[in-house]
């Protein structure tokens, strides 16, 4: 066989092109495969013979790699034949001098097989991605102990799952006022456009149908698409998550299902976190007055003591016992007694500093833990508490109430260490001294 007939009869398509891809020679195999004659092919750019996706790949990827590397092997390219049908091929290309040489192999069967593999892989990857998103979200949500942590976990999970530009999570509490707790919203408080339903806005034109100002704001902030998903608990709306995209996105069923699943998971955890917070509050507070109870006082007292020892700063414990409270219960009734206790608690809180812990110790006994002690401040504070308690109670005008107050003031030093019980007992002791020496007064002991 002559070299020319070998060329034409080769079981692969052979082409030579100029550097810009214009076909110079083709062999008979390539003519037969494409259905074009040599005359029709020569002078055409090889990219024009490719199906559009391959053409884009060829131009953006094959071409630069070939120019830089000189060789490209086994690139998958799909030819578009004269009759419009497609031929899957693998192409080897080499750059030699001013020419590009291409050898093209029919890869129909292999490509079909790969396509099946690919479809299967895409499907399994998509569902695995979904499972993975939900699993990692479940982990992040589950380890959240506060609403803030949960809001962060939700914002982060959703942003990662959808490659969103940003996400924003609003939590709605008893005040029914949504509060932004995680992420950020390019559009400010989005909840004003929101009616409690899932809202998907794929582009600005759709936004304009809802609200012209929303559409304008989207344009101004380069927000192309957004969605809003409510967090709905059995007791009602507890939050909103909004997801923002700088590029127009199609929010199809898969998007919505996954987003709703994440919102649902987060809502369940939010309800649980709230319940735990409620239980914690109940366990540590006095039901009548809302003040800290003995357990919480003990905890905070130990904490304050340790801190005080570290910093060598003075702290004080006030022990208050109401004088004349029994008469309130006797002259009026127990509900009036309760009301007086609530009022007394309110007055103590008003006198105390914000950082102080005010506790109901039992019956008509209160304790104030003060870590913010200023010089000569103890006297003034005891005086103010006494005066506050002593003021008349509108509900019980005929049963005057006052307070006997014992104060333990402690400044730690290495040879002067006490326990919280000792401190409390000292204050209690001082209170009894005050009571024993005529009530309605304060006795201060310093350690």
């Amino acid at each position: 066989m002559t070299p020319a007939s070998l060329y034409d009869a080769a079981p692969c398509g052979l082409l030579t092109t100029s550097l810009d891809g214009s076909i110079v020679t083709v062999n008979a195999t390539f003519e037969a495969w494409t259905g074009y004659s040599s005359a029709e092919l020569v002078g055409r750019n090889v990219a024009q013979l490719l199906e559009v996706g391959s053409r884009m790949f060829f131009e953006t990827r094959h071409f630069p790699t070939l120019r830089l590397q000189g060789d490209v092997r086994a690139m998958a390219l799909t030819l578009e034949r004269a009759d419009g049908s497609h031929l899957a091929t693998l192409a080897n290309s080499s750059l030699r001098g001013d020419s590009i040489h291409l050898a093209i192999f029919d890869a129909t069967e292999r490509t079909e097989y790969e396509r099946e593999l690919l479809t299967a892989r895409r499907t399994s990857e998509a569902s695995e991605s979904r499972v993975r998103v939900l699993q990692s979200a479940a982990g992040a949500f589950g380890s959240s102990e506060t609403e803030g942590e949960l809001a962060l976990a939700l914002a982060s999970s959703v942003r990662t799952a959808f490659a969103a530009t940003s996400t924003a999570v609003w939590i709605i509490d008893d005040s029914a006022q949504p509060e932004l707790r995680a992420g950020s919203s390019p559009l400010g408080d989005l909840t004003r456009f929101f009616d409690g339903e899932v809202t998907r806005i794929e582009n600005v034109a759709q936004a304009r149908e809802i609200s012209a100002s929303l559409a304008d704001e989207m344009e101004a902030t380069r927000t192309a698409s957004l969605s809003v998903h409510p967090l709905i608990a059995p007791q009602g709306l507890v939050g909103v998550i909004s997801t923002f995209f700088s590029r127009e996105r199609q929010m199809d069923v898969a998007y919505n299902d996954l987003h709703e699943a994440l919102a649902r998971q987060a809502t369940e955890v939010l309800v649980r976190v709230r319940l735990q917070q409620q239980l914690r509050h109940i366990a540590l507070h006095d039901k009548l007055t809302g003040l800290a109870n003995r357990d919480l006082l003990q905890y905070r007292l130990n904490e304050a003591l340790a801190q005080s020892v570290r910093s060598s700063e003075t702290m004080a414990v006030f022990f208050l016992d109401l004088d004349g409270f029994k008469a309130v219960n006797d002259s009026y009734d127990h509900s009036t007694g309760d009301a007086v206790l609530v009022e007394a608690a309110r007055r103590i809180v008003a006198v105390a500093h914000n950082s102080d812990v005010v506790a109901r110790f039992g019956g008509d006994e209160f304790v104030v833990l003060c870590t913010d002690v200023v010089e000569n401040g103890i006297d003034a504070m005891a005086e103010a508490m006494g005066a506050a308690i002593r003021a008349p109670y509108a509900l019980a005008p005929d049963a005057p109430v006052s307070a006997s107050i014992g104060v333990a003031v402690y400044t730690p030093s290495p040879n002067n260490l006490v326990t919280s019980d000792e401190l409390l007992n000292l204050a209690d002791d001082a209170m009894y001294t005050a009571k024993g020496s005529g009530k309605n007064r304060a006795v201060i002991r310093t350690l």
């Binding site: 810009d20 990219a47 559009v52 120019r67 982060s156 990662t160 490659a163």
Partner: protein, 294 residues
């Protein structure tokens, strides 16, 4: 092939811990832009800064025949977009790079970190629009925009010809997958027949136009499904548009659209053909840039 699940991020990108995973609001101020974007600064240190930005599909290597011509007079800055070339793949935050704005903010990071001003920004393909976005955000930092084969939108729209349909873009994604299925970085050593000498395979995949397949897919979506037409009207920086003949990715009609919509822009038709004149006709591109800057 149905692609409605594609908007959910691929597994590999989910598994990658995104920088935003913990606190999504805190921008890392200490990010090393130079290693993140594989920034190279060469040429005349006292010259006017000239940033070259590569397009979809390859890396800063696509400027290797053009950039040297400017080394004597300009401070030449080359870089790889995150996900391409030798950029830091761990910096790939899918949310950030889901729009061209994320890439534009990287360009501004480079401008800031290198303290550049009066920048000549030369952007090819998708980087032309990235340059437009960066310059619109900080027009004071840019002196000139040179857009090589720009397209503000690749998909046709009512009253607009971009050159492609939505199914065309899906077809490109299929083509990407078809190529990476058998030719990914994990497969290369086996195909080379040298599993014991992986460096051979490394050479193959490391050499040029290195790209992470999962990122390439996402970048293809972001590149070819973005619509930045409205940003053209906001350009205030003097702009040169270089259009090559027979560019199947950014057809001449699109280049003319860009010219018509950037007030005062200059349009130059190159004698080059194809989408990457910076590789196929570097001299032509160099001449056009020099003439414009003269």
């Amino acid at each position: 092939m149905s692609c409605n699940l594609d908007e959910i991020m691929p597994l590999r990108l989910i598994l990658r811990p995104a920088p935003g995973d913990v606190r999504i609001e805190v921008m890392d101020q200490t990010v090393d832009v130079v290693s993140r974007n594989n920034v190279r600064v060469i040429g005349n240190p006292d010259g006017r800064p000239m940033i070259f930005a590569h397009g979809f599909g390859c890396s800063q290597e696509t400027w290797r025949h053009v950039a040297p011509a400017f080394l004597d007079d300009y401070r030449v800055v080359l870089f790889d977009h995150v996900g391409a070339g030798h950029s830091d793949l761990s910096a790939y935050d899918a949310g950030k790079y889901d729009s061209l704005d994320g890439y534009a903010s990287d360009v501004l990071d480079i401008v800031d970190q290198l303290e550049l001003d009066d920048v000549i920004f030369v952007g090819h393909s998708v980087s032309a629009m990235i340059g437009v976005l960066a310059a619109n955000q900080r027009p004071d930092a840019f002196g000139e925009l040179i857009l090589v084969g720009p397209s503000p939108r690749y998909v046709d729209d009512i009253g607009y010809t971009g050159g492609f349909s939505q199914p065309d873009i899906e077809s490109l994604l299929d083509s990407l997958d078809a190529n990476y299925l058998g030719w990914s970085s994990t497969m290369a050593p086996i195909i080379m027949g040298n599993p014991d000498r992986p460096q051979l395979g490394d050479e193959l995949t490391e050499s040029f136009c290195t790209i992470d397949p999962a990122i390439a897919r996402h970048f293809a979506r972001v590149t070819f499904l973005s619509d930045n037409r409205r940003d053209l009207g906001r350009v205030t920086v003097p702009t040169l548009i270089l259009q090559s003949d027979d560019d199947v990715i950014s057809p001449t009609v699109v280049g003319e659209y860009v010219h018509d919509n950037i007030a005062g822009s200059t349009f130059v038709m190159l004698s080059a053909t194809g989408h990457i004149p910076n590789l196929s006709a570097a001299d032509d591109v160099i001449r056009a840039i020099r003439n414009y800057l003269r």
